[in-house]
Symmetry: C2
DNA sequence: GTTAATTTTTAGTCTTCCCTAAAACAACTG
DNA sequence: CAGTTGTTTTAGGGAAGACTAAAAATTAAC
């Protein structure tokens, strides 16, 4: 088996690779809250273990073996988040921190039982897709709310899950995955707020000014 | 916070202290599957942290601070075992290994939610008492079945939880905590089997010869 | 009451994962 | 294309937790 440090590194490579072309040492250091020198050291070990390919100054990429482990950990993480939320009522801003620990200790047997108990969910409480048991994962790249024009109707697809305060804020506005909304006004190239009307859920009809930072971490899919 | 190594040591001191007068280095080494030299090193660190008192060649004892941590970990362990068994249907011979890992990562919030979801259970699937939220724990020392005389009627109180094979064997005989039985024949000072009639549960009426090792790890309370 | 066997401790290492400070390198900038 | 800036690597260490081998203390055996 692998240490949880190894699992966290591989997961981070996978997650950064979702948006960035190349995964750099400093991007990993920032995400894992670790010094760049530590990343260099660990990445060299991962390369020896054939879990990543790595060329100095050119970044890191997962091998097939490394990707399998990364997706396994992501499956654990998102399944645990979903289980904590659905079965135990843990609020959506707290599940991430707990899952960050559980993902490393969950057995395959209990993973399967959670999946079964939940009826094989496809998305976690923040809208992110849960990898299949055979470790397939497609992560669509929804545009952030911040980039939508006034007049657009859209549905919340996914919210970044690692900032509890942001999640409480967004939740307070009634903007959960699946919630429909209409963009009232938007200031695309500034850092101003995006005003939306909520069309769904407990805040149905309400109009909210969504701060820029939140709008950048809230992803939507268009509705024709 | 403490490392899981620290938590495991404190738990082991507490558990050995349940039956033994003094907790020796070698007893800890055997239970934790670690060399005696490693135990000496760790125990010195625990003494510096004021979690145990320790005198060379005379063994280890928990301080109040150390006992609190130990019982907290035991509460986590037994609550997780119960939750896995009741809520997810994990068989009673598998819950221990999983709980051994989960006990170190469970937050107080999720602990409370599991407790609530289960209706504040008092005993884990093996019959061991679950410490209260305020960390009170009384562990009665039931006599083992191996020491019961022929003719005695008794109820299964607790079964050792760390040997899956033994649990499968005992479970196959229908002997779960709460099951009533009658001792048909017993060979107290030999290592022969104890023959019992099951008075309860799915094996009601059956007669079984319980092997000596199992009878030594199966604890009962008398019934008048 | 010595000697022998057992238990415990000391001494010296190893591995894993992280750190800081300084040197090396790559990429802009004018 | 020389200088500035930012990134990455090297060099040197540290904390945890474990190990082996050998010394010391305790206990058991003649
Ligand atoms: Mn993690
Ligand atoms: Mn999530
Ligand atoms: Mn443990
Ligand atoms: Mn148990």
């Amino acid at each position: 088996m692998h240490t949880s440090a190894v699992e966290d590194y591989l997961k981070a490579v996978c997650e950064i690779g979702r948006t960035e072309e190349t995964v750099t040492t400093s991007a990993l250091a920032a995400r894992l809250d670790v010094s760049p020198a530590s990343v260099t050291g660990m990445v060299k070990k991962l390369a020896v273990m054939k879990l990543v390919t790595y060329e100095r100054y050119y970044g890191v990429a997962l091998t097939n073996a490394g990707r399998r482990i990364a997706i396994e950990v992501i499956r654990h993480h998102r399944l645990v988040e979903t289980y904590l939320h659905e079965a135990l009522g843990v609020p959506w801003d707290e599940v991430h921190a707990e899952a960050e620990k559980w993902e490393h200790v969950l057995s395959e047997d209990v993973e399967a039982r959670m999946d079964e108990a939940l009826g094989h969910p496809t998305n976690d409480p923040h809208g992110a897709p849960i990898p299949t048991p055979t470790l397939e994962l497609v992560e669509p790249d929804w545009p952030p709310l911040a980039r939508m024009d006034a007049g657009t109707k859209a549905v919340v697809a996914e919210v970044s899950d690692d900032d509890p305060e942001l999640l409480r804020y967004v939740g307070g506005l009634g903007l959960y995955p699946g919630t429909a909304l209409e963009v009232i006004s938007s200031a695309p190239y500034s850092d101003g707020p995006v005003t939306v009307r909520v069309l769904d859920g407990d805040q149905r009809g309400a109009e909210h000014a969504v701060g820029h930072r939140a709008a950048a971490h809230l992803f939507v899919r268009d509705v024709k």
